[in-house]
């Protein structure tokens, strides 16, 4: 019942089918864990602090009026406003505090969570669900990649969402590896096999190339 994949490989290489731009984007985002969310929220808070700092400094130097600069930080006007409608301000404070707490905790949870290792879910027909574990798929691809000449070590893992998984492959190359050939064979053999075996028409891939530590050559004069 094993399908002989090697027969398909030896067929003449067809010109690569045009790739959906979404797939291309998924392969780019599979390169590494995205720092986007952390980055933009930090920029936001940094900008707020910067504006507050600049604003208060200007106020302090009297740019907004010398009289304003002389007022206390906790202005009696503020105290009067709050005292006029205590219930309203209490509710505002509680709601604001809750929102801030929820937002902060969500952000921490999101930031600290380790990157997902999605399983590959296949359609098995009625009443049958098939799930290929993330570890199994990754090891299969990595084992096959390690057989390529020029590749000393390989690791592969699935990243991304369960509905749209992507592969991240890291190859440790030997010093004399032919990079173009390794990449071509990775695409034509290893990845094509994976896609055929798992019946995934599109599996975006991010490949990272590293060099294997060389074995120290004996220095003989």
């Amino acid at each position: 019942m094993t399908v002989d994949m090697s027969k398909d490989m030896s067929k003449s290489a067809e010109p690569p089918a045009p790739v959906d731009p979404r797939v291309r984007r998924r392969s780019r985002s599979a390169v590494a864990r995205s720092a986007g969310g952390d980055r933009w929220l930090t920029v936001l808070i940094g900008l707020v602090l910067l504006l507050v700092g600049v604003g208060v400094t200007l106020l302090s130097y009297g740019v907004f009026g010398v009289a304003r600069a002389g007022r206390p930080l906790l202005d009696p006007i503020i105290l009067d406003t709050v005292a006029a409608q205590p219930l309203l301000w209490r509710v505002v404070a509680i709601v604001g505090g809750l929102l801030l707490a929820v937002f902060g905790l969500t952000w921490v949870a999101r930031s600290v969570r380790p990157e997902a290792r999605p399983d590959v879910v296949l359609n098995g027909g009625a009443d049958t669900t098939i799930r290929v574990s993330s570890a199994a798929a990754g090891e299969a691809v990595a084992s096959q990649a390690e057989t390529l000449p020029g590749v000393a070590r390989a690791r592969a893992r699935l990243v991304g969402a369960a509905a749209a998984p992507a592969l991240r492959v890291t190859l440790w190359l030997a010093d004399d590896a032919d990079v173009r050939s390794v990449l071509a064979r990775l695409h034509g053999e290893v990845l094509a096999t994976a896609r055929a075996s798992l019946d995934l028409p599109s599996l975006p891939v991010a490949v990272r190339l590293e060099l294997e530590r060389p074995h120290p050559t004996p220095r003989v004069a």
């Binding site: 720092a35 952390d38 940094g46 302090s60 206390p72 801030l100 937002f103 599996l203 490949v207």
Partner: protein, 179 residues
């Protein structure tokens, strides 16, 4: 920088969450326990008195505001510069993205340059746009060593499917003494 961001971001989230929780607790405590003097967890009435006694134009306020502004600026800079310095390579297919690190390119170039007998040592810095090789040669090295090294490096760069071919800058220093 990415490492800093990865630590900073959750810390900020934690600070925000703590502030939010404290605000809720103090407001509720003040509402429900009017007899309780002062703040429950945080001495906010005392803080309020201090703030009421300070004016905007005072030096302390100025100093703190400038400090806050600087911190904010630093945060923005850290967040914006937290990028991976990846070298992009051309992939055999559009659904594949190939990257490597500048370190790897520098090592490959260094190995190639050091393979020449005339070169004593070489140090390489590489980036997407520029490769700089500083080689030390024996003092009886041929005159054209520099251009030989440039050729070797460009050969290597042509073998790699780089998206952008970096400019190559080679400088050779001679070393006194016998081989």
């Amino acid at each position: 920088m990415r490492a800093v961001l990865r630590v900073l971001a959750p810390l900020l989230g934690l600070v925000l969450a703590t502030v939010g929780v404290l605000v809720v607790i103090e407001v509720v405590a003040e509402w429900v326990l009017p007899e309780h003097e002062g703040g429950l967890l945080v001495p906010w009435p005392e803080w309020g008195a201090v703030l009421a006694g300070l004016a905007w134009s005072q030096n302390l306020v100025r100093g703190i505001a400038i400090g806050v502004g600087v911190v904010g600026l630093l945060m923005v800079l850290v967040a914006l510069t937290a990028r991976r310095a990846d070298l992009r390579l051309v992939a055999p297919s559009d659904d594949m993205t190939v990257t490597t690190s500048p370190r790897v390119l520098a090592r490959l170039i260094g190995t190639r340059v050091r393979a020449s007998d005339d070169v004593l040592s070489a140090s390489v810095t590489a980036s997407e746009r520029r490769v700089a090789v500083t080689a030390r040669a024996w003092n009886d090295a041929p005159e054209e060593l520099r251009s030989t090294i440039v050729d070797r490096v460009q050969e290597l760069l042509a073998e790699l499917p780089l998206r952008r071919t970096p400019r190559v800058a080679v400088s050779v220093q001679e070393r006194e003494g016998v081989r």
